[in-house]
Symmetry: C2
Subunit: 324 residues, 2 copies
Amino acid sequence: MNNFWSKYPDIQIQLNDIKSNLSEFHKTGEKYLTESFDYLMQTGGKMLRPAFVLIGALMKEHDEHEKISNAAVAIETLHMATLIHDDIIDDAKMRRNQLSIQAKYSKEYAVYMGDYLFTRVFMILAKYDYTRENLYDISKGISKICIGEMMQNRLRYHNDVSTKDYLKIIAGKTAALFAVSLGLGGHLAGVSEKDAKNLGRIGYNVGMAFQIKDDLLDYSSKNNVVGKDTLSDLANGYYTLPVIYALKAESSNNLIKILDDQDIKEEDVMKAIHIIKNSGSIQKTEALADRYTKRAMKAIEDLPSCRTKDILRDLVPILLDRKH
Amino acid sequence: MNNFWSKYPDIQIQLNDIKSNLSEFHKTGEKYLTESFDYLMQTGGKMLRPAFVLIGALMKEHDEHEKISNAAVAIETLHMATLIHDDIIDDAKMRRNQLSIQAKYSKEYAVYMGDYLFTRVFMILAKYDYTRENLYDISKGISKICIGEMMQNRLRYHNDVSTKDYLKIIAGKTAALFAVSLGLGGHLAGVSEKDAKNLGRIGYNVGMAFQIKDDLLDYSSKNNVVGKDTLSDLANGYYTLPVIYALKAESSNNLIKILDDQDIKEEDVMKAIHIIKNSGSIQKTEALADRYTKRAMKAIEDLPSCRTKDILRDLVPILLDRKH
């Protein structure tokens, strides 16, 4: 993924601009705050969502580069805010190879730092004249993320969580922002309502496939070492699709027994993972990810000829071939 | 306070409308969410900030009642979001005489419920055409709240926290939203920039006095019973103005020794409160609250004749005579 943008130098330049704007916009008069933002910005991230805004905007010639770049800064700020809050909930120690904000500072500080970044989203958006529809779409996107996360939280340790519930959770926590980003870029460039909807649909399907692939990563047969995240997800009662399918399989009694144990140990989790891997649920999960990938690719093919189409055709297969 | 609005039936009616809109706007398709919002709305609250929006708007004849009422809903939503997150940080069990969201559901749920309400603020605002300036003022207000809370958090257990730091904290966490509310009401009614600034200044001074009086409440000599909040504030290292003044007094050695104890017990806190009460710091705090009250009253007198002036003249002294 890292070298991908060298093929598209115009996007690479814009993404670098967005990165430096991100650091700039979050400087405050408070030394302590500025220090923690600098810390947060050190690692960067894949900048996927801002890239989606830029790609969506390539569907139509326009004169709104600054406004679009500014929207991309807002979207990445929003993403950063959600990550900070996620790490509180998951008690995650690491994020992007360094201590998470909640681990480095405190959970309390992380609550407010996330809140602060949320409000920055709208301060950034207030720099340009966005329409009410733009603001509504973005806020609605955030609210979907929150609803997804709240659902995930509520359904922890539920061994009867349905596939439908799970899809609703990831539609909120991941797919919504991909959809908003791509659609917003199009909107701001002035594409038709229909085209903007199509872009949103592509973003949604890419996001769904992306999250399912992410959930599969640690169960992949090439991986002999099971990641810490998988262990802690299972121990903390977050059941992703491979688990949910395995829980529905005929031979699920042993799995249920292990997961229901209040005092679950690492070796139990390893046993659970073994059962999951042998239940056929990995293949079922892969099949579902493929379905979303295909839907995304089909929707991309349905776009009229444009750079958005060319870049997405190139990017999406690489993005969804998740080994990173 | 509760009967105050019966003197101003037009405001009372509008506040009731805002209350029912609040319940309505936060209904979602998710049964579980709707249930927790209904729970949150059961108790209401003083609705001071929405009242300030309405009062600010009375400075000029206008035709923007719905837009202003909608802004007031957004402001109260924002206030609710900050309370939910505050209760996480403070580990507060009760809010408005019922279990707090974090105590009833979980801290995790409370993080996302607050986030969800934050985004609702902007979804609500997207219902009408507010200017970029309106959005900026509101977002800036929220960011000040966050900065105030982050500072407060950072300065916990610091026995050398300065009066200046403390005033900065409460300027953010309390006065900012009072200032935004009153100024926003004026703005939306179309008052001049100068008048809107004056309204903001009144809101700020009222907010400062309000918070200082709040911090004084439990130390008041009429109160023989020290509130649980004071005990837990001290034990948790949140030092309000009476404590800060006492820490600066010549005889502060014993107080510092008690507060520095890692394993502070209830009887130690009682001793600390005794020292604080006898240090003359209560009188100094009262004097500072009076200064802000006077500034607010002076700024109100400087307003041109209008209903805003009449109502504030009536309301502010009652509001700042905090025995409730």
